[in-house]
């Protein structure tokens, strides 16, 4: 018996409006003019590790295949090197679109439990918010503990070297204005960022509607 490896996608696999929603986020509006030329994939330094190439992510997003996009490994592999954004002939800010997709994936829990990238991102934001600064050594330790503490064991040699060269910090860096920072965040605490989708998609008039 031969198992099938390709699937036929049905309209029910799409989440209509997903692409349009992504395009309303800052920096993402130009996705509509993607011509699928593949420059982004060609310049991407980590594309070989991706399940979908960046170009395919653009196509899937625009076509509303929310599940495939948010479950894809590609978005977590993006290292924010901005090569795609700089080279895109349509000036699409691909890196910013990937950020947007990461945010959506984190908000709706679309990633494996011990997946390091989102865990690091979460730990990073928690530490930045609590202390005002990042202490890399402690951040990485926390990430390993939450994802794969065995891996941390594998890093002991590097850790020791960092300690011996004075690059490993044992105590967290903290700013004085922590209360001030918390007050700032509290002022805008909303679970999901609101990009106020004004009007129907494709509506060009801004603020002139009744």
């Amino acid at each position: 018996m031969i198992e099938y490896t390709r699937v036929i996608k049905h309209e029910t696999d799409r989440v209509p409006g997903f692409g349009a929603e992504v395009m309303r986020a800052p920096g993402c509006e130009k996705l509509a003019s993607c011509i699928q030329c593949g420059t982004c994939s060609g310049v991407c330094p980590v594309s070989i590790y991706m399940d979908f190439t960046p170009r395919q992510i653009m196509a899937l997003t625009r076509a509303d295949f929310k599940d495939d996009v948010l479950r894809s490994r590609t978005i977590w592999l993006c290292v924010s090197c901005y090569a795609c954004t700089t080279e895109c002939p349509r000036k699409i800010r691909i890196t910013d679109i990937i950020y947007e997709l990461k945010q959506r994936a984190i908000q709706s829990g679309y990633y494996p439990e011990h997946f390091a990238v989102p865990v690091l991102a979460r730990e990073f934001t928690d530490m930045a918010r609590a202390n005002g600064r990042i202490t890399e050594s402690l951040l990485v330790m926390r990430m390993y503990l939450k994802t794969n503490w065995l891996a941390a064991l594998g890093m002991w040699r590097l850790g020791l070297k960092l300690m011996s060269t004075g690059r490993f910090s044992y105590t967290p860096e903290k700013i004085e204005g922590r209360a001030e920072l918390e007050k700032m965040f509290a002022a805008i605490d909303t679970p999901i960022p609101d990009y106020s989708p004004s009007g129907a998609p494709g509506e060009e008039t801004k603020g002139t509607q009744p």
Partner: protein, 664 residues
């Protein structure tokens, strides 16, 4: 208006199918107009510009004794003429008509029906307030000088000049390079038929030179244009070529005689791939067959110290003239055809593709010269390292379809690259040729077949825009070669392919001085910098200035067949005016009421056409209607209000202002 009969306005609002009616309630507009002062008839109709629509106006004029017509439809730039004609056919002076732009300025640009309809009310109220002030005007007629100036001697200019000359019209053809022929003269073969460019072009070039009706001025530029349609005065500058064109017989004996024994200066015609001497002819079939001397490198012109062996070789023909200076000619023509062509994209602007950094990266035009048997390599494809490439990669859309450089498609780089690829395959069938493309654009006669032929010849097509050309090797076979990195979007993975030669299919741009040329000939440019046609579909070779036509790639990228078709069209448009013998011009000129003029002379310096004269005997200003072009600047500036502009009288505009504001 006192002695005139009672004003009776006919008002018509056009649905334009659904173009207007879908956004604006046309029936409500007609009802609104019906109750405005002086309106005798108010109707809405599906298509006012159609014959029945125009007949409706004519019938109403008779049946309802109308004496003013207002049509609310599209832009006056499109159909004002149509409705003026209808008004005239109905028995009224055509200038008793006024038009309201409900489509371009309203229904197409708004998305709220009730607000659009309210705006329409204001627009038509203005027109209905304005039109009673309209006066009967006579059309002005201007004679057309029968001669034509053609600017640019590429295939477009050559074809336009020959068409006109064969019809018996006198033509001046001005070309700024030392020879006519343009880009086409550099091509080896032409797609999709692969006929040799020189074989089809050079006969036309020599026809130009020998045609009794054509004056060919090469190495010359238009520096000044005055006048108006039918009566242009033009100044042409002839640059010194240090060779007397009338005395040179094109024997070329001066070239081997030059004190520089070997050619050592970059040869522009061969894209700097070859070398030439200070005294040279761009290419063997150059027209006119006259040599020229490059003052930048000629020993005699630079230092004054040279044995002048060229003069010796010329002998008693005495064609070489080191004292030659710029000269000027003044001519009069009725029409001008601008065919100034394009510039190729500078591949240095995309450093990722390594042009200038890696010796074996070439532009498509360089390869075009290389593959030409009379070119710098006598037809051989060789890299700058002297080796014949086993693998050649063509990168398409270099400087095209890219928002960081040029947004537009070059329209020819797919076909051009396929042509070069086929020629390389023909020259050396073992060569592996790849074409990296985003979309293959092969419209037009024979083009799809040409694409199919390329595929069958084994040219490999990879759909993906190349990310980078690099000398970063990761496998042994990549060492020392140029590696293309790109996503093969059809296969769905990123590939690295090593090449011996990369060819960049460079895009087309407006000429570097397109803005100066545009100002010189009073034309407009589109956002991308190509000259703007009057209407993209219906007036593709006309400009907004009467008597100035455009043809070829100066209007936008195009291939040779389209260029020749446009050149023929431009010649035909010029001939229409010439054979009419005169042109009717809009009577929107200004005139001065002598009684009211205080003789303050404020208006005199304002007129760019020196149409206003001060009459010493009466101490009053006076406008020459033949010179006035109807801008109205003097009208706005006249302190005594004694200048009036037809069609734009103060009363008319004031009532329009009141009209647009009368509706809440």
């Amino acid at each position: 208006m006192k002695d005139e009969p009672e004003i009776r306005i006919g008002f018509y609002v056009c649905h334009c199918g659904t173009n207007i009616a879908a956004m604006i309630d046309c029936q409500a507009v007609a009802r609104y107009a019906a109750q405005l002062p002086f309106v005798a008839v108010s109707r809405d109709y599906k298509y006012m510009c159609s014959d029945p629509g125009q007949e409706l106006i004519q019938r109403d004029i008779k049946e309802h004794a109308l004496n003013r017509i207002v049509v609310a439809s599209c832009s006056p730039l499109l159909h004002e003429h149509t409705f003026r004609n209808a008004t005239e056919k109905g028995g009224l002076n055509p200038y008793f008509f006024h038009m309201v732009n409900l489509r371009e300025h309203n229904s197409w640009v708004h998305s709220d029906g009730s607000k659009a309809t309210a705006k329409a009310f204001a627009q038509i109220r203005a027109a209905i307030a304005r039109v009673p002030h309209h006066k009967a005007l006579e059309v002005l007629q201007v004679p057309i000088h029968p001669d034509v100036l053609v600017v640019g001697g590429g295939i477009a200019g050559i074809h336009a000049a020959l068409t006109l000359a064969n019809a018996g019209k006198k033509v001046y053809l001005v070309e700024r390079e030392p020879t006519i022929g343009g880009h086409m003269a550099k091509f080896d073969k032409t797609f999709p038929t692969l006929d040799c460019a020189a074989c089809i072009l050079t006969p036309k070039m020599s026809q130009v030179k020998s045609h009794p009706k054509i004056t060919l001025w090469s190495f010359s530029e238009v520096v000044k244009l005055d006048g108006y349609v039918g009566n242009y005065q033009i100044t042409v500058k002839h640059k010194p070529r240090y060779v007397n064109e009338d005395l040179c017989v094109g024997c070329l004996e001066c070239i081997p005689a030059c004190v520089f024994k070997t050619p050592k200066f970059p040869d522009e015609f061969n894209q700097n791939l070859g070398k030439r001497k200070p005294v040279y002819i761009p290419f063997p079939q150059a027209t006119p067959q006259v040599v020229l001397i490059d003052p930048e490198v000629c020993l005699n012109l630079k230092t004054g110290k040279c044995k002048q062996t060229c003069v010796e070789a010329c002998g008693d023909r005495q064609a070489i003239d080191f004292d030659q200076r710029e000269t000027f000619d003044d001519i009069k023509v009725g029409n001008v055809i601008v065919a100034t062509g394009f510039k190729t994209f500078d591949a240095h602007r995309i450093p990722q593709y390594g042009y200038g950094a890696f010796p074996n990266v070439f532009t498509s035009l360089e390869v075009e010269r290389m593959i030409n048997t009379s070119g710098p390599t006598s037809g051989a494809i060789v890299g700058r390292d002297g080796k014949h490439p086993d693998t050649v990669g063509f990168i398409l859309c270099v400087g095209s379809r890219d928002e960081k450089t040029n947004k537009w498609c070059s329209r020819t780089c797919c076909m051009h690259s396929m042509k070069l690829a086929q020629l390389i395959k023909e020259h050396c069938p073992r060569t592996e040729v790849y074409i990296f493309y985003m979309d293959i654009r092969a419209p037009g006669k024979g083009a799809e077949e040409f694409y199919d032929k390329s595929l069958r010849m084994g040219i490999r097509f990879i759909r993906g825009r190349v990310a980078e050309v690099t000398d970063w090797a990761v496998t042994p076979e990549e060492e020392g070669r140029l590696v293309v990195r790109c996503e093969d979007t059809m296969a769905g993975f990123v590939r690295r392919i090593p090449f011996d030669m990369i060819v960049l299919a460079i895009g087309k741009e407006p000429q570097a001085d397109a803005q100066d040329v545009r100002r010189l000939f009073n034309m407009s440019c589109g956002t991308e910098g190509f000259f703007l046609e009057r209407h993209p579909k219906l007036a593709p070779v006309s400009t907004f200035t009467d008597g100035i036509f455009i043809a070829g790639a100066c209007q936008g990228p195009k291939d040779i067949p389209d260029t020749v078709a446009q050149a023929g069209a431009a010649a035909a448009e010029a001939m229409v005016l010439i054979d009419q013998g005169h042109i009717e011009i809009e009577p929107n000129t200004a005139h001065i009421s002598e009684v009211d003029c205080s003789g303050c002379k404020s208006c005199l310096p304002l007129c760019p056409y020196t149409a206003i004269a001060f009459i010493e005997t009466t101490k009053k200003a006076s406008i020459n209607a033949a010179l006035c072009k109807g801008c109205g600047t003097c009208v706005a500036a006249c302190p005594s209000g004694s200048i009036t502009q037809n069609l734009f009288e103060d009363d008319e505009i004031f009532s329009e202002i009141a009209g647009v504001l009368a509706y809440e």
